[in-house]
């Protein structure tokens, strides 16, 4: 038992020394993730506001001006120009200077005062569906609400206050991220993504470098049992992963005010379970590649779908039905659910035990399979 520990320690120390010697690798492992987290955190703001809007006011009355002002008031739409004709507004939509056109018809004020139904036309550039969706929501929110209010006043006038128009009001309350900060949403996803990129890529390329250079052969003649050799080799990468995730979470909390609501112990347990998967994948890829370049491409082929099919950017329930079951084999999906639960919502073990168990099972499975293959390649 003691001899094993000594042997394990020796491989571990050798691996750490070798990693630290390569300055570029140290940068790749520590500075790069940090910079990328900041870059992504600052660059990604999925919120929609200040949508450029061109106004066509064909009525030019006090009533039409106040309606337009009220529609622009909450900042979702921002007026960039006033033009005289619908054609001119459409030209602005076509060359991308504006994304929304508000057209107030002639006789708008007269129709409103007589109670004749009238409409403000909202023309949207649908190229970016998120933007057009939010813009159209903002426009119809104001107009619909004002329309109901006018209907109520009309009824009041006609019946002299005897009859009232019933109405349903929905009062939303935002939990967990009431400021609607995109960075808070993205940081756990970026952390999971960076862990996948770094640990998988570095493990895969590190091991295939040894195969390329031929040092793996040399290790074979030492009296080391293969499992120890493997543990010693992946150990440092697991520690690097834990270090990186700590950096990422700290940066998220300080720079982007991300809350840390749940148990940190649970968070690290979940991360360790996830790292079993990523390091195992790296090991698996290295057993399938002869050169570093092959390992790089292999890792790229795994990482890209894992990122896109994880719910990092858009929720899984928005994917087509046939695609959703495929995400069930993606460890990143479960890690992400768990981390968002723990950090942002204060989820406890009873809330996320499913994710933890899945990660553990997948991790043991992947790492086990990879070790078997690794043993074959070495032996």
């Amino acid at each position: 038992m003691r001899r094993w520990l000594v042997q394990l320690g020796a491989v571990f120390v050798k691996e750490v020394r070798q990693t630290v010697q390569d300055k570029r690798l140290v940068g790749l492992l520590t500075v790069a993730p940090f910079v990328q987290l900041l870059l992504f955190g600052f660059a990604i703001d999925l919120g929609v506001d200040q949508v450029p809007t061109v106004v066509v006011d064909m009525d030019a009355s006090a009533e039409s001006r106040s309606t337009v002002d009220a529609m622009l008031a909450d900042g979702t739409l921002a007026s960039v120009d006033h033009v005289d004709s619908v054609g001119a507004a459409e030209a602005q939509l076509e060359d991308g200077r504006a994304a929304v056109a508000l057209v107030v018809p002639q006789d708008f004020a007269r129709d409103l005062s007589r109670g004749t139904p009238t409409q403000v036309q909202v023309i949207l550039d649908g190229t970016d569906p998120t933007r057009s969706g939010v813009a159209s929501g903002a426009a119809s929110r104001y107009l619909g609400g004002r329309g109901l209010e006018l209907a109520r006043q009309q009824l009041d006038r006609v019946t002299g206050g005897r009859l009232k128009l019933p109405a349903v009001e929905i009062r939303p309350r935002l939990l967990f991220n009431p400021e609607l900060s995109s960075a808070v949403f993205m940081v756990p996803g970026i952390a999971g993504m960076l862990l996948l990129i770094i640990t998988t890529l570095v493990t895969a390329m590190g091991l295939s470098r040894e195969a390329e250079v031929g040092t793996l052969e040399q290790v074979r003649v030492t009296p080391l049992p293969t499992p120890l050799l493997m543990l010693g080799k992946i150990g440092p990468y697991v520690i690097v992963g834990l270090l990186d995730v700590t950096l990422a979470i700290a940066a998220g909390a300080w720079v982007f005010d991300m809350p840390l609501r749940g148990s940190m112990l649970l968070f690290y347990v979940l991360t360790a379970a996830y790292l079993l998967n990523t390091v195992g994948l790296g090991l698996l890829i290295s057993t399938m590649s002869k050169t570093q370049q092959q390992a790089f491409i292999g890792a790229f082929v795994v990482i890209l779908p894992a990122m896109l099919l994880s719910g990092t950017m858009t929720p899984i329930h928005a994917m087509p039905d046939w695609l959703q079951p495929i995400t069930l084999i993606n460890p990143l999906r479960f890690y992400l659910e768990g981390v968002r639960g723990i950090l942002l919502k204060g989820a406890t073990l009873s809330d996320i035990w499913v994710q933890l168990v899945v990660l553990l099972v997948y991790g043991v499975f992947i790492l086990g399979g990879a070790s078997l293959r690794f043993r074959k390649t070495v032996a």
Binding site: R24, F42, V48, T127, P166, R171, L175, V184, A318
Partner: protein, 413 residues
């Protein structure tokens, strides 16, 4: 393949195309057309050699031709900004036909999907924390009664706001639901005719260019730019760096082939591959996702060539500077692929970024290329709308090709 570039029948007569031998220095009577012919033969030979390299290496072919399709499908299906089937839990404390009708309003359009019932507010928060639902609708006791008295009944909607764009859409939809429910209730009370357009004031919306709001149509241009950047920068920098690493570049220089001929010969096959990629992605986009093509084809072709030339120049520059495949990979990822993904308007709106990033995005060529693609494909634009995008693309291409060829020539002199 190289024969395309050589004037008819000429090369067969000469020595093997790969090794133009017997080149007497300073032949006095060589005509201009003869020099041009030799230029084309050498470039063609180099291009053929490079094309052979590509064909022999299945990984390059995978990166060049399969990966673009895989990415197109992943982005097109996997990323969806039009978020429906939002999981909704209901806490109905009223238990009336009226309250059930409100729930029906929510789930009618598939925007929300009923996942269960919760007894009270505490349970609602718990359901959200555990991620079993994204929204909880709470209908208070007395909901139907207040409506029957002609009052305004307030219901609560508790939202998991972690996902920003989902939340914004849920909020917008909740407003629409309130208007739908009000219209239904008012119509049922006989005080107002059915149908929203009968309100004294309402909105009439008309969505152009992408009326169904499909995010795949929005994303395909970005995928095109990204895979082009991947192939043009990463593959060329690797291909040229490999020649430096193995020392075969020095051997090439010992032959009578000129530096410019080497550059053109090396880059030509990748230019061809890029052209195939653009066609592949756009055709597959049209076929799988119904991507339209409304604008000017020449503008699209011009922009694609300019963008590719710029990216090829960048790849060449990286390989001349690094001369090492591993470092070239890193440099390509950082200088071309990351900005093309993050700072190009591919998925993340540029106008929301902090000022330094917004300024920086102006030197990311993918930004202009994606704008051209969206303009031509979706909005039906031509050169009159898109010249402000074409100009920077041309500038970038000219600059990159000039700088990289100059460095390439100096490196060896």
């Amino acid at each position: 393949m190289s024969e395309v570039h050589t004037p008819g029948g000429a090369p067969a007569a000469g020595p093997p195309a790969g090794h133009p031998a017997g080149h007497p220095a300073g032949h006095p009577a060589r005509s201009r057309s003869d020099r041009t012919r030799r230029f084309f033969i050498r470039v063609g030979a180099l291009a053929a050699k490079e094309a052979l390299h590509i064909r022999r290496d299945p990984r390059t072919l995978y990166l060049g031709l399969i990966l673009p399709l895989v990415m197109l499908l992943l982005f097109g299906f996997g990323i969806s900004f039009e978020i429906d089937h939002i999981p909704l839990a209901v806490s109905d404390q009223d238990h009336t036909p009226e309250s059930r009708a409100l729930v029906d309003d929510f789930v009618a359009a598939n925007e929300f999907e009923l996942v269960g019932n919760v007894p009270d507010a505490d349970a609602a928060t718990e359901v959200l924390a555990a991620g079993r639902s994204s929204a909880v609708l709470t209908i208070p006791q007395g909901y139907a009664e207040s409506l029957s008295r002609g009052e305004t009944a307030t219901v609560g909607l508790l939202l998991d706001a972690v996902d920003v764009s989902s939340t914004q859409q849920s909020l917008a939809r909740a407003d629409v639901m309130a208007q739908v429910a009000t219209g239904r209730v008012a119509a049922a009370s006989g005080l107002m005719p059915a149908g929203g357009a009968n309100l004294p004031l309402s909105a009439r919306t008309w969505t152009r260019f992408n009326p169904a709001g499909r995010s795949s149509l929005y994303l395909v241009p970005g995928v095109t730019a990204y895979v082009l950047a991947l192939v043009a920068v990463l593959l060329t920098s690797l291909a040229v760096a490999r020649e430096w690493e193995r020392g075969s570049m020095e051997q090439l220089f010992a032959t009578p082939v000129g530096r410019l001929e080497i550059v053109i010969g090396k880059l030509l096959p990748y230019l061809g591959m890029g052209a195939v990629q653009v066609l592949l992605v756009l055709t597959a986009g049209a076929w799988v996702f119904g991507l339209p093509f409304r604008g000017s084809l020449p503008v699209l072709a011009l922009a694609s060539v300019l963008f590719m030339l710029g990216m090829l120049g960048q790849g060449l520059l990286i390989s001349v500077i690094t001369r090492n495949q591993m470092v070239a990979t890193q440099a390509s990822m950082l200088s071309a692929m990351l900005p093309s993904m993050l700072l190009s308007g591919f998925m993340f709106p540029i106008q929301n970024m902090p000022l330094p990033l917004r300024v920086f995005s102006h030197i990311v060529p993918a930004r202009y290329y994606i704008a051209v693609l969206r303009g031509v494909l979706l909005r039906g634009n031509g050169v009159s709308e898109l010249w402000p995008e074409l100009l920077p693309l041309a500038l970038f291409a000219g600059l990159m090709i000039a700088v990289s060829t100059a460095r390439f020539q100096r490196k060896l002199a």
